[in-house]
């Protein structure tokens, strides 16, 4: 049985979709069989970030409604053999995401894939709770700013209350993915630092993704950032996060922390 992971945050625009694509691709590069599932019904974007927007025929809602088979709706990535996308519907209503339908689809995907990564919509409404419902573990994507931290705290509360795992009395495994970290601002004391965030949210750290234009460039060309520019600091941070997700122990490097005095002026590009 595969692992079901939800990528969630509460707040919008913090990098859930980017992170889903990047981590999904990083796992697939390690020959794991991966499906990334877009739960953002009505506002799908994972297809665009993955570069598969013109190949969508059937979607999650079609499968739930019985209008298409699961195999018909899955889109195989053109770059990685073991990476698949299950797109969300762009035109349908999010109320079509029924609890029974979602349970059935996730159940089938778990049998066929090593990793089922669910890209949650923003907010705490039904779409978000549906995306987290059957998860074995959660990646909480958080930016180092107050509103994102507050919303993450709220989502952590929901993960501990509204998931199947929580209802069974089991502990939901939660990982903090600190995204859009700016080493310069952290050094100047104008951005919440890693220790602050870990202390406030008190869940283990999966990785720190530095703020970078690589993400924008990757989305422009429709490739997960781990594939678009695999040597970039962002891609490496995502690859390490993916490896930690599989259980490997790799020390987390805080971007910019080991930089020398000169590095402060000359090392910006590395971030």
């Amino acid at each position: 049985m595969g692992n079901v992971i939800v990528v969630t945050s509460g707040k919008g625009g913090v990098g859930k979709t980017t992170s889903t694509a990047a981590i999904g691709a990083a796992l697939a590069q390690r020959n794991e069989k991966v499906v990334v599932v877009d739960f953002d019904v009505g506002l799908r974007n994972l297809d665009l970030v993955m570069g598969a927007e013109r190949r969508v025929v059937f979607d999650l809602i079609n499968v739930i409604q019985g209008e298409a088979k699961l195999s018909q709706s899955l889109i195989r990535d053109k770059r990685l053999e073991t990476l698949f996308l299950l797109p969300a519907s762009q035109t349908r209503d999010k109320d079509k995401l029924t609890p029974e339908g979602v349970e059935r689809v996730i159940g089938s995907l778990k049998k066929a894939f090593d990793w089922v990564i669910c890209d949650s919509p923003a907010g705490i409404e039904s779409g978000a709770t549906m995306a987290m419902r059957h998860a074995d573990a959660a990646i909480v994507v958080t930016n180092p700013e107050v509103s994102s931290v507050r919303d993450s705290d709220r989502i952590i509360g929901l993960l501990d209350a509204k998931t199947v795992k929580a209802e069974r009395g089991e502990t939901m495994e939660k990982h903090l993915l600190l995204n859009r970290y700016d080493p310069g601002r952290a050094a100047s004391g104008d951005m919440l630092n890693v220790d602050d965030m870990l202390e406030i949210l008190s869940i283990p750290l999966l990785g720190i993704i530095p703020e970078s234009t690589d993400v924008l460039r990757a989305s422009n060309i429709g490739a997960p950032v781990t594939l678009a520019n695999s040597s970039s600091a962002t891609a490496r941070a995502y690859v390490e996060a993916a490896r930690r997700l599989t259980g490997e122990t790799i020390p987390v490097t805080v971007p910019g922390e080991k930089r020398s005095f000169f590095g402060k002026f000359f090392g910006r590009k590395a971030a």
Binding site: V146, R150, A186, D190
Partner: protein, 87 residues
């Protein structure tokens, strides 16, 4: 940057951390309490409906948590005719 720190300029990140710590402590407490308030409301409605006709949401339960003491406010609205009937 370090020179500014020497002169004691308060960094905004520490303000953010302090504000979040206070805010989240309150929100966690009140989120945890939501269920309790809802349970109380349902049970109050159940007890009342044995004696008076209860329609819709006419029972409001509110809990306020303070540092020293918490207060529970229950506001029950009983329509005129049902009150007359019960009497």
């Amino acid at each position: 940057m370090n020179i500014l720190r020497l002169f004691g300029r308060r960094k905004s990140a520490s303000a953010a951390r302090e504000r979040l710590q206070v805010l989240l402590a309150h929100e966690r407490a009140s989120m945890g309490g939501t269920d309790l308030v809802e349970i109380l409301r349902e049970e109050i409605v159940a007890v009342l409906s044995k004696h008076v006709k209860m329609e819709g949401r006419r029972v409001h339960v509110k809990m306020e948590r303070g540092a020293q003491v918490s207060t529970l406010a229950v506001d029950i609205e009983i329509p005129f005719d049902t009150g007359a009937r019960a009497a």
